[in-house]
């Protein structure tokens, strides 16, 4: 819980220092929907199209009782941010691989769905970072192999998707185990979460690794079936991304996020969806040239 207060305090400090350093006329970010045209002239009259792929729980997903709706951490934060700015918006759902090209082509305005920042993407789009990725390892209830950290995986079977942070964790652990003369870590790969879950269900794997937010959701929803073995922060930054020529939109998102964090609304949304609050970071713009 301690970690929650640090970013919050940082946000307050940042706001205070901003107040001191900038001219008196410029107030701290606040929700002023009526002043949309004045604050963000580039957004006046627009309906912001938010690109999402609603199969990424707990970030964007369809609620089971009404498939026509969209909920999740990112969906709720996006709504709060755009309501704060006073701009109209709509969610546009599509397959993940189509999202980034569509934002670049101007068919969408913002990609807001658990999008990882990296320097390559940073060259194409501007980001507002507001959380850090965590990797969770899910195991059978009671953690039968007692895998309590990434250093305790020797001799275990770990299921991962290839080509990501999780694969590197397993490879590293495998090498460490073997170097210490212990049995290595056997790696299994899977294509989608459902397939990964089946590996745990039928005990073909001891742990499956995925985004910590989802792992926590699954564990909370299935008491007595799964447990979280461990969680590790990858340091990968996450946030919505916009085109580089859409600076008013970038600013509106950053301002809204800052307000949300100051009011602890972001933390409340994280809590609502069982996302570890330690993954929240102070909003920051990434807009390299």
């Amino acid at each position: 819980m301690k970690r929650v207060h640090i970013p919050a305090a940082a946000a307050v400090l940042a706001t205070l220092s901003a107040l001191c350093l900038t001219s008196v006329a410029e107030a701290a970010p606040a929700c002023e929907p009526a002043k949309l045209a004045e604050k963000y002239p580039g957004l006046a009259g627009r309906t912001i199209k938010i690109g999402v792929d609603p199969q990424t729980p707990p970030y964007v997903m369809r609620p089971a009782n009404d498939f026509a709706k969209l909920i999740g951490v990112d969906a709720d934060v996006a709504r709060a941010v755009f309501d704060c700015a006073g701009v109209k918006y709509e969610f546009v759902a599509g397959a993940w691989s189509g999202l980034l090209p569509a934002v670049r082509a101007g068919q969408l305005d913002v990609l807001w769905d658990n999008l990882y920042y990296n320097p390559e993407r940073g060259k194409i789009l501007d980001f507002v970072i507001y959380m850090e990725a965590g990797t969770g390892a899910m195991t059978q209830a009671g953690n039968p192999k007692k895998i309590i950290s990434k250093d305790a995986m020797c001799g275990a079977v770990a299921a991962v998707t290839l080509g990501g942070f999780e694969e590197s964790i397993v490879k590293e652990a495998d090498a460490t185990c073997k170097a210490a003369g212990k049995p290595g870590v056997e790696m299994m790969s899977f294509q989608d979460v459902a397939a990964g879950i089946r590996l745990i269900d039928n005990k073909r794997a001891d742990i499956m690794m995925w985004d910590a937010g989802l792992i926590d959701t699954l564990v909370a929803e299935n008491p007595g079936k799964y447990d979280r073995a461990f969680m590790t922060l990858s340091g990968i930054q996450i946030g919505p991304a916009v085109r580089k020529d859409d600076q008013d939109l970038l600013k509106a998102i950053f301002d809204g996020m800052t307000v949300l964090q100051a009011k602890k609304e972001q933390a409340a949304i994280f809590k609502k969806y069982n996302v570890d609050p330690s993954s929240q970071v102070t909003a920051v713009i990434k807009n390299e040239k």
Binding site: G51, P54, Q55, T56, P57, P58, M61, R62, P63, A64, N65, D66, F67, A68, V92, A93, G94, A95, S97, G98, P101, A102, R104, A105, G106, Q107, L108, V193, A194, I197, T217, A220, E221, N222, K225, Y273, N274
Partner: protein, 580 residues
């Protein structure tokens, strides 16, 4: 979260679970249920998804995209197929290039290109429009090949016959070739429709939320892969079943060999229902156009009718009606016609004899310009057929050959009859008068029935060609040619494809026709017919006229050794044993 997930499912699955499960059985607690009940619960959940409005709305989007893209794709594909079959190399090349690119590149890429790359040049479509355009453009390439295959599957003689009746390219395509090609086209197109319906899931990459993507979203949230996709599969199966039924019905409609009075196809019978057979394309004759009471009456009447035709616009009997001057033609290196000079007077019956390869059929086809000539000229009734004279004196082919043929009033009867297979005898006879001469259907039907009666087929007017004997088919072909009110009749070996016992009935009709004073050029091997009916006999060999004179001279006292040798061979042939 957990609570909400289950609540939704229970709500969805109430109708079936109520029927399947005993009262009070737990629907949501799959873990604690006994195995049998778990299956029931699974089925109940599946049923819940299969009746979900969210999924069916996705299915509706898939259907809309498929229907629109298929219609556009077929239209564009037909254009591409015709381009590929065109005589113009640039059109063939453009079409082949388009098909090569569209079939050879991923549809996914094409969709993303239209959606995300075209905006860079200012062309912006929404998701649905992009999907329709993308699928249509892609489908056109595949349809083009299916349609081309269909067109090629129709015997070329069908369009040759249409062409000889003065039907233009597009009329012939629409009325004769495509209706028959449909039999070969439909199964392929049916495949493509079903394929496309399922492939619309690709459009999720351009934000079309259709059935598969909606299922993925549900699975993405509850991970119940088998129940959700089981339901999706059921929805797809329902829709594709309807498509298959539609395909089956269309196939029946275009299967002219199927008896029209039977009910239901194999598929309909399998599904346990039947549908009423199509009504005949041509309604039965109004009472006032019934065939004459007896065939003899009909023939009398026909003779009078033909006489008026021949006498309507008489030419002086001593002036030639057909004049061929130094007609030359070669196929590549091989000379087929090596300078033919020939005249046919009005009302004259000229029999053309000669060994195969002597050029006699080609000569006949140059008279109505089914074949172009390389040199010389042919005048019919004093005019050129399908040529215009250039200032220097040379000839240039006219653009609208079909119209020129109709105007010249030349009709042709072929060795293999070339009746339009998908049309009844009467429809065969009526087609060109209605479509080319612009006669009313009523008038054309009256004439058609009279003509069929005159060739002794009054009772077979509503039969399709495949239900007629060869001799009957050839008589229908003669009636069809006469319906064009010809001034010249060309017969290209009209009895060569017939069984010996059927030759007589055709020759009898030709003999009657000759008696009415019709001008006729007959390529034949029937020596007896030539001797008895022809006014003049021409013997051709190696592209030249070797002998030309009355039958008594050419057949009975041939001067040329080649003629004598040919006649000896033919007179020993089995067809000569039958006679009219």
């Amino acid at each position: 979260m957990s609570h909400r997930f289950r609540k939704g499912l229970v709500r969805l699955s109430v109708p079936l679970s109520a029927a399947l499960l005993p009262a009070g059985a737990a629907v949501a607690q799959t873990d604690s249920a006994v195995p049998g009940s778990a299956v029931l619960t699974g089925l109940a959940e599946l049923w819940g998804y299969a009746t979900s409005g969210f999924l069916w709305n996705g299915a509706l989007i898939a259907i809309e995209i498929t229907a629109l893209a298929m219609v556009l794709g077929l239209a564009f594909g037909l254009g591409l197929a015709l381009m590929r079959l065109s005589g113009i190399a640039a059109l063939r090349g453009a079409s082949a290039f388009y098909i090569w690119v569209m079939r050879g590149t991923p549809l996914l890429l094409q969709l993303v290109f239209i959606y995300d790359a075209l905006p860079l040049i200012g062309v912006r479509f929404d998701s649905f429009t992009t999907a329709v355009i993308g699928f249509a453009l892609n489908e056109a390439a595949f349809c083009a090949e299916i349609i081309r295959g269909g067109i090629l599957s129709v015997n070329k003689n069908q369009s040759v016959a249409a062409s000889s009746l003065g039907m233009g390219h597009f009329l012939s395509l629409r009325r004769i070739v495509l209706p028959q090609a449909m039999r070969a086209i439909l199964p392929g197109v049916g495949n493509d429709v079903i394929n496309m319906l399922k492939m619309t899931s690709l459009a999720s990459v351009i934000f079309v939320s259709e059935l598969t993507y909606r299922s993925q979203q549900i699975v993405g949230q509850n991970f119940k892969f088998f129940t959700v996709f089981g339901a999706t599969a059921l929805i797809y199966l329902i829709i594709t079943t309807l498509i298959a039924v539609m395909q089956e019905r269309l196939e029946r409609r275009f299967n002219y060999e199927l008896p029209k009075d039977s009910d239901g196809g194999a598929f309909s019978r399998m599904l346990g229902f039947s549908h009423r057979a199509q009504s005949p394309a041509v309604p039965s004759a109004p009472t006032e156009v019934r065939a004459p009471a007896s065939e003899a009456d009909g023939r009398e009447e026909m003779r009078d009718w033909l006489r008026t035709l021949v006498d309507a616009d008489p030419l002086p009997a001593d002036q030639p009606f057909v004049t061929c001057s130094n007609v030359q033609k070669a196929y590549g290196e091989r000379t087929v016609l090596a300078g033919i000079d020939l005249t046919v007077k009005p009302g004259e019956v000229v029999a053309i004899l000669g060994p195969s390869g002597s050029g006699k059929s080609t000569l006949l086809r140059t008279v109505n310009h089914l074949e172009a000539i390389d040199w010389g000229e042919i005048l019919v009734g004093g005019g050129l057929v399908g040529y215009r004279r250039l200032p220097g004196g040379g000839l240039a082919p006219e653009r609208n050959l079909a119209q020129a043929r109709a105007k010249a009033r030349i009709a042709m009867v072929f060795q293999h009859f070339n009746l339009f297979n998908h049309m009844t005898a009467l429809e065969n006879v009526m087609e060109a008068p209605v479509r080319v001469l612009g006669e009313s259907r009523h008038e054309a039907e009256a004439t058609g029935r009279r003509l069929l009666a005159a060739v002794g087929l009054g009772d077979h007017a509503d039969h399709l060609p495949h239900r007629l004997s060869g001799g009957q088919q050839q008589r229908v072909a003669i009636a069809r040619a006469l319906a064009m009110k010809p001034k010249l009749m060309l017969f290209d070996e009209p009895t060569s494809a017939l069984d010996p016992e059927l030759v007589g009935e055709v020759l009898l009709v030709m003999r009657k026709l000759a008696e009415t004073g019709m001008t006729m050029m007959v390529v034949t091997h029937e020596i007896r017919f030539a001797r008895e009916v022809a006014d003049r006999v021409i013997f051709m060999d190696e592209g030249r006229v070797i002998e030309d004179g009355p039958p008594s001279q050419v057949i009975d006292n041939p001067r040329n050794e080649r003629t004598r040798r040919f006649l000896r061979l033919v007179e020993n042939a089995p067809t000569e044993t039958t006679s009219s």
